[in-house]
Symmetry: C2
Subunit: 163 residues, 2 copies
């Protein structure tokens, strides 16, 4: 298997694929008599007009590194955000598109305080928490038409933590 | 001060005010080769056509019980969901409306694995985590027009934990 090494997730490195949802820097606004910082409108939500935004919960089984990656998927009808309902890091895998085929995947690990929003039609791995609980709120497109394209790698990738 | 006692948050008790966002019961669908349960579309998102859904982050200072409640607010232009990015309980205060004035408030404490979605125009207290970190993802209405009505109680309420 070919190997990929994980990197820490940062807004900058993730920008080609989506948004990092985190409390970082100064808030856009202080609310509630100064007791709460609002970091305003941090995800590019983008849904086909036939669908709409919805909030679902995902409960996923934890995985471990090294992780065998044989599948990525994408959603042509909408963006998809994952908000961890815990403070545990999770694994985020994405790939650029090369004429309809995913390029070499990139793997990131969150710092425990970050959510993510995959932009519409970005290739990504399935939800891969690295510890219990694998509980996330997901903001994605609710609609009646198919919204899933899968790509199975002919040779799986091994996703490794940094040495 | 008049006193209110908190109750554990349940979907049933919270139904007049909004949705409890939690992994409970059987998932609506198993995805990712059976490794992830999807609890589908669990929040009634409801935004004025002049606005749209957005994801923001809130970073709020923790409070303690007993808590002095002198203010509730409501958002005429849209629902507002709070997803805790941690596993700590938080305090949720709501009130029915009586001809434009909030009725006696009700107070709930989450179990650490629950988010909430306030339905549009429901009176509620400001975000009140009970411990660090006070970090939440918030799905609410993004728009240019005012979307906040406040009500200050002439006599504050004391919100107490159960004896």
């Amino acid at each position: 298997m070919l190997a990929i090494t994980t990197s820490p997730l940062t807004a900058r490195s993730f920008a080609p694929f989506g948004d990092v949802l985190e409390v970082a820097g100064a808030p856009d606004k202080l609310i509630n008599q100064g007791l709460c910082g609002r970091f305003h409108d941090r995800a590019r939500l983008d849904f086909d007009p036939g669908g709409r935004a919805g909030i679902s919960l995902f409960d996923a089984q934890p995985r471990a590194l090294p992780y065998r990656l044989d599948l990525v998927e994408r959603h042509p009808e909408g963006s998809q955000a994952f908000i961890p309902m815990h403070e545990q890091p999770f694994l985020v895998i994405v790939a650029q598109d090369l004429s309809g085929i995913p390029d070499t995947p990139q793997a990131f690990v969150t710092n425990g305080a970050q959510g993510i929003n995959f932009h519409r039609n970005i290739w990504h791995g399935v939800l891969t928490p690295l510890s219990h609980p694998g509980r996330f709120a997901v903001i994605d497109r609710i609609g009646a038409t198919p919204n899933l394209e899968e790509y199975w790698f002919s040779t799986p990738w091994e996703v490794r933590g940094p040495v």
